[in-house]
């Protein structure tokens, strides 16, 4: 049973946007802080820290999650995609360009999470209805109240 003895921290191996990282982390460290502070991937934002706002959303083994609602130690062995992984080389991808074209961001704070939620949605449903788009970004709060333009941007990519 030695393998299950509780530990205060451990070395984790996590693949993020195709790069493998190995770091020692405390058990209490949230995944969002691991990404931002340990890996310096500051694209994912901390908005509320309570699982409500979705600014920290990332893809975790292909599944949309809020990275403030996981521990970094849980992610040992996982593959994660963050907003930094969306661009194709130096070019913003179609979704990112659509956000610009449709003025789908004002302050931009929610944008990384919105982009990851839209990415997850479009992979599952390449041509989502407006209702499906609204359901898809239900876990992401925009306090500039720009939802209409965000929905339009996602719709334009899925058209």
């Amino acid at each position: 049973m030695a393998a299950t003895a509780p530990v205060g921290g451990k070395t984790v191996t996590v693949r993020v946007n195709g790069t493998t990282y190995e770091r020692e982390v405390e058990a209490r460290r949230l995944l969002i802080h691991f990404l931002r502070d340990d890996l310096d991937l500051t694209g994912s934002h901390v908005g509320c820290d309570t699982g409500n706002c979705g600014a920290c959303s990332v893809l975790y083994d292909g599944t949309l999650v809020k990275s403030c609602m996981l521990l970094a130690v849980q992610a040992d062995g996982a593959s994660i995609e963050t907003v930094e992984g969306l661009a194709e080389g130096d070019e913003l991808n179609d979704l990112q360009q659509a956000f610009g074209a449709h003025h789908a961001l004002q302050c931009g704070y929610c944008t990384p999470g919105m982009l990851m939620s839209a990415t997850a949605l479009l992979r599952e449903k390449p041509h989502p209805t407006e209702d499906e788009i609204r359901k898809g970004i239900q876990g992401n709060i925009c306090r500039c109240t720009g939802y209409v333009n965000i929905v339009e941007a996602i719709k334009s990519v899925g058209a």
Binding site: A3, P6, A27, G54, C68, K135, G139
Partner: protein, 269 residues
């Protein structure tokens, strides 16, 4: 946010998990983490050890037994229930799971976590009582089963005690079910909820958010007046808070119970 210091264990079998749960006072299972991590952030509780259940594949299945019983592993996520062809044997389950929070939470949150946290505002405790569910709990002493109406023992408290782990949720076959709630925003936290099942001899109607545990009432008929009378007869003493007064919750309890039964009648016919 920095959480309180905590130990972490990641067992690979249920036997190992119940061993580590039993070996440490203050050890708590970590399922999807969508409740317990927030509880730790708010300092409402500080477990000494989190026992991560993610490698316990034996808790992940969603299976339909030969007699029609739907068996959910405690680690089945809401999204897995929604997508499961087997879970459509009891369609209300996927419908209610689709009303919980948002995509991200549904992808991580688990059926077992929802019921073991037994927050009175959670969707699944009243639903599973209405459906006549049986819980299977493992410990180093073996397995035991507990009917849902005995599983929920108080606010945040269930029959799964220290050193025990909920493993399976067994739901009998049926289809005449309904659920209704008044929530804070679409798919938000329930202010009052009700679940109903008309599959047995008399309707099973269960009201949530009005007591520490789901309240089961047995109306003598499935018409609106019988349902309202049964809920009134339960003499509910719900809490008052910023979202609703006790009087308003009492009123809503009758309303959502009647709606849940009406939806169940539509489903059954």
């Amino acid at each position: 946010m920095l959480l309180p210091e905590v130990g972490y264990a990641r067992p690979s079998t249920v036997d190992e998990a119940v061993h580590v749960l039993a070996s440490h006072d203050g050890a708590r299972p970590l399922a999807g983490g969508q409740t317990i991590l927030n509880v730790m952030k708010s300092r409402a509780a500080a477990p000494d050890v989190l026992v991560d259940l993610q490698d316990l594949d034996e808790l992940r299945g969603i299976e339909l037994a030969a007699d029609g019983t739907l068996v959910l592993g405690a680690m089945a996520t809401y999204s897995e229930v929604i997508a499961s062809a087997e879970a459509r044997a009891r369609p209300i389950l996927g419908e209610v799971c689709a009303q919980i929070a948002d995509v991200q939470v549904r992808n991580r949150g688990t059926v077992g976590g929802n019921i073991c946290s037994n927050d009175p505002t959670n969707h699944l405790p009243p639903l599973l009582v209405a459906l006549g569910t049986t819980m299977t709990i493992a410990s180093s002493a073996g397995e035991r089963t507990v009917p849902a109406e005995e599983f929920f023992v108080g606010v945040y408290a269930t029959a799964a005690g220290p050193g025990e782990l909920l493993t399976k949720i067994s739901i009998p076959a049926g289809k005449g079910d309904g659920f209704a709630a008044v929530t804070i925003g679409k798919d938000g936290t329930c202010i009052v909820s009700a679940a109903a099942s008309l599959d047995g001899d008399a309707p099973r109607v269960v009201v949530g958010c009005v007591h520490g545990v789901p309240v089961l009432v047995r109306p003598d008929g499935a018409d609106e007046e019988a349902v309202r009378r049964a809920v009134r007869g339960a003499n509910l003493e719900p809490p008052s808070d910023v979202h609703a007064s006790a009087d308003y919750r009492r009123h809503l309890a009758e309303v959502v119970a009647a709606r849940a039964v009406q939806r169940a009648r539509t489903r059954r016919s």
